[in-house]
Point group: C2
Chain length 410, copies 2
Amino acid sequence: MMNQIEQEKIKIIPNGSISSPKGFKAGGIHCGIRKKKKDLGIIISDVPAASAAVYTMNIFQAAPLQVTKESLADSPYLQAVVVNSGNANAFTAEQGLWDAYEMRDAVAKTFNLSPMNVAVSSTGVIGERLPIERITAGIAKLPESLSSDNGWDFGEAILTTDTFVKSIAIEISVEGKKVIIGGTAKGSGMIHPNMATMLAFITTDANIHPDVLQKLLRDVTDQSFNMITVDGDTSTNDMVLTMANGLAENTPLDEYHPDWEVFYQGFTYVAKQLAKWIAKDGEGATKLVSVEVHGATSPMMAKAIAKKIVGSNLVKTAIYGADGNWGRIIMAIGNSGYQVDPQLIDITIGPITVLKHGLKTFYSEEKVSEALSQDEVKIHVDLHLGNCSAEAWGCDLTYEYVRINASYRT
Amino acid sequence: MMNQIEQEKIKIIPNGSISSPKGFKAGGIHCGIRKKKKDLGIIISDVPAASAAVYTMNIFQAAPLQVTKESLADSPYLQAVVVNSGNANAFTAEQGLWDAYEMRDAVAKTFNLSPMNVAVSSTGVIGERLPIERITAGIAKLPESLSSDNGWDFGEAILTTDTFVKSIAIEISVEGKKVIIGGTAKGSGMIHPNMATMLAFITTDANIHPDVLQKLLRDVTDQSFNMITVDGDTSTNDMVLTMANGLAENTPLDEYHPDWEVFYQGFTYVAKQLAKWIAKDGEGATKLVSVEVHGATSPMMAKAIAKKIVGSNLVKTAIYGADGNWGRIIMAIGNSGYQVDPQLIDITIGPITVLKHGLKTFYSEEKVSEALSQDEVKIHVDLHLGNCSAEAWGCDLTYEYVRINASYRT
């Protein structure tokens, strides 16, 4: 569901992807890290693109993140991003760093770029050396797969335990000019011996200064990728990276630009959509869970409470069982560490208010259970203390989650 | 396994319980809150006992906790503790408070005590009114059930989804006099529509000032009950309460007393044993998981890392699947927020070192899997940064956990 600006100003491009914006091409192939599935992908911009990234908060940052940081620190313009799945190149010591450099150099050489204009990213097994020969051989083949129609191949090549490709592109108007924003992501699903990794890539042909883009990305990530929880664990390889190549030829966007609001909303729409798909595709998940918290006294408080609810194993299992156990929502709120007044709280599950001013209403258990049986379950909490809100997304906790994560290496 | 002081100075009393210390009696009956199981229990001391308690950190503290706090604030001496299972009397507004008062008054009247010498505790359903008539009728019958042999009945009456009674008593020597410490607890298991509650009661006939007892309890709780994790959620009703009636007639214990060390170790032994049983009896658990972290630069750091490892869903499912996935242990360490050096870390699973100075060793997957198939799984991490250690306990995450917590009310 879109809000008003989104409805009026944002046009979704059918089958859109990260190669939809002007001047972007992408490709994805199988290079032999995984048995059969695509495992190597690339995004290329015709011209150097203003770029920005945010990284995992896990203190062990994998080698590719360090190399990408180095590229962006040199100058915040990228022309290529290469990603492999099947091996995270994490906890691989000095060797991992050399392998990530070699991967970056191979792309630079193949596409005739400066290594400092190339970013690298990896997802998969932790603690095992990257099969660098297969990757460099694969990189040599990437030019053949490159096309402005192949964004979905890239989206496929970065997946690990995800069950579907997450790809979107939208069109907005800036100064009457067409601007496209595309995105793709992979989820925080984890299967042995893979590490969790959340990767997201957002491309646009908008003209925007790297500093403005970095600030935008941080802000939007806080409302989207940082508001999803699959199982509370944060990987060593998480990264969100964005590239803006300016080929739409608008005057540079910033918060004083008359079309800033629509660009901001469009960028946020893409990020939130990717984040929701990641949550929906959490390992073993059968439902997307959306939690809205209103009436908090600060944005931090609203965010913390929304995430506590969506992240609670007890709430997640109750939702799996379609069980209207609002006591667990209360408990999660109480575990946030923030002072709230129990006698002011309203809780609504789907369309049914189960708690009003801290008192249980006379609701039908059957109707609550029905609301909890939908593909998307909405929980709405009003604390009635202030004016701040937040939304968080997650999924239910199922037998399948346990099966996937308990099973032996195969 | 006991350490040296424990082995030499602590004697475990067969079938010991909270009624083993001199002057303590206990009882447990069925009063009709639950269908068939015992649901009302009491501990009585012949004389007022120095008492201390620690409470849940959840900001919503249930009514009985507020009433118990009031009793202890009046004077830190209790003579009775009454506990019901089947209903938590939590999130019951003003009414819940009146019901808890009525429960306390009924015990005071029946046993001819001051209400301020009575503590109350409840565990079970949240958000529903206490069936106070059944409870007061049950309290009137409690004197018949009271005996110094009935500690296990009390232990049974406080259970909810626990699968076994947790009861222990030990004997130590203070000034050559026999001192007994008894304990019982119920686990943090949760089943719909019950709330999680961890309750523990420790009794002793030692003579100790309430202030010293409070300090001891806080210190020991930090090393025992606060170091267990079943699913990361904290209930509104959690409480650890201790009573020391002084009938052993030792001179008051404090840290300058020559036998302080043995008393401290004995008290800690009882608390840790109860804590480990709670972890082992976590919902759906098949294994007790012990995580020791060494070489931290502060006790806080050691504790935080041990709890992150034992609380990670990914580590817990890997242990369920007997899968030696040390990458998940690394990830949990990295999520603690503390700076550690990856190149110094050793990780040992059971007897097998899988990571040495940050590098994977040449271990046998089969042997690691064997170590992970034991009833108690031990994980040992050395950070090689400092001299601080901590131990935490938890359990595996299983299909059964999901089944229990997803199932409808019956």
